[in-house]
């Protein structure tokens, strides 16, 4: 029983991948049956299952004079993704966005050294200037 169920699930997954790969063009349902090697009875059952689960949508169309359905992947209701980034004050410091951050070390004669970094010193000079302006 268990393996039968997983076969079904595999089939559904495969069907979804195919429908997804068609993107906004969608796919005629008979094309999908053919690609999956299903007859129309099995095929329409599969489509109905996916439809019920809300994974696909159907659109009635006419193909070669016959009424049929075109299948599309259901647009998932825009998941409000929680992008939990909290960057804060770091964005002000040049190191945070510096391409050389990983290669930068103090001492040891490394080429990128925070103590002698021109970018960092320029930033610091700028901050000093700002502060002087304010205090004047």
């Amino acid at each position: 029983m268990g393996s039968r169920r997983s076969n079904l699930e595999q089939l559904e997954e495969k069907a979804l991948e195919i429908i997804k790969s068609k993107g906004e063009d969608g796919i005629y349902q008979h094309e999908l049956w053919k690609m999956l090697g299903l007859d129309s009875r099995e095929g329409s059952r599969l489509a109905l299952r996916l439809l019920k689960k809300g994974l696909i949508i159907r659109e009635p169309t006419v193909h070669n004079g016959r009424r049929t359905y075109k299948l599309f992947l259901a647009k998932k209701e825009k998941k409000v993704i929680k992008l939990e980034v909290d960057i804060g004050v770091a964005i002000e410091v040049p190191c945070f966005t510096c391409r050389h951050l990983e290669r930068c070390h103090s001492g040891g004669g490394s080429f990128f050294d925070p103590s002698s970094c021109p970018i960092l010193h320029k930033w610091l000079d700028y901050k000093v200037k700002l502060l002087r302006k304010v205090s004047r």
Partner: protein, 180 residues
């Protein structure tokens, strides 16, 4: 109540991507952010209006830096490989945290050298010399001969550095408490 990132922090994230990798990467990343879930490579190319090569290059660097992840799927009828890309929502906080810690370390290193050294400055061109260098030149600028003067901004520089170190440390402590 879980707090969502403010739009200001999203903008900061975009700025980080742009400065770290480039403008194309920012565009690609924005397209992916708008999509929310995974998105096919050709879809990114279409929506960003960039060339395929630029998009792929940007995606690869984004992935290498841990900003995005991908899933490879064989195209069901054509047999070629399709890439579905997605922002690495799970990994992003630790990527940011690591950069923040690294930034703090660099600032601390600079603070240490700055507070250990007394600089002398040429009043004409602003070049800085350490005490030893200034002594070697008998406190005269080796280029123009003007007398070098002690760096009068020293205290301000130290103040600014200490302030940023404190702020970064506070943010990093907040990471530990706020992360779920």
């Amino acid at each position: 109540m879980s707090k969502d990132s403010s739009s200001r922090d999203i903008e900061r994230l975009f700025i980080l991507v742009e400065r770290l990798i480039g403008e194309d990467a920012r565009k690609v990343f924005e397209v992916m952010y708008e999509e929310g879930d995974e998105i096919a490579e050709h879809e990114i190319i279409e929506r960003s209006g960039l060339k395929g090569g630029s998009v792929r290059r940007a995606l690869n660097i984004l992935a290498e830096k841990g900003f995005v992840t991908y899933r490879k799927v064989k195209h069901p009828d054509k047999g070629r490989i399709i890439f579905y890309w997605r922002i690495n929502y799970e990994g992003l906080p630790s990527v940011i945290k690591a950069r923040r810690i690294a930034t703090l370390e660099r600032l601390k290193a600079l603070l240490e050298t700055e507070s250990e050294t007394q600089y002398y400055i040429c009043p004409l061109d602003g070049t800085r010399y350490t005490f030893e260098e200034a002594l070697d030149h008998e406190f005269a600028c080796p280029r123009c001969g003007s007398m070098l003067v002690p760096d009068e901004d020293r205290e301000l520089r130290l103040q600014i550095l200490r302030q940023y170190v404190r702020m970064l440390e506070a943010d990093i402590r907040g990471d530990g408490a706020g992360g779920s």
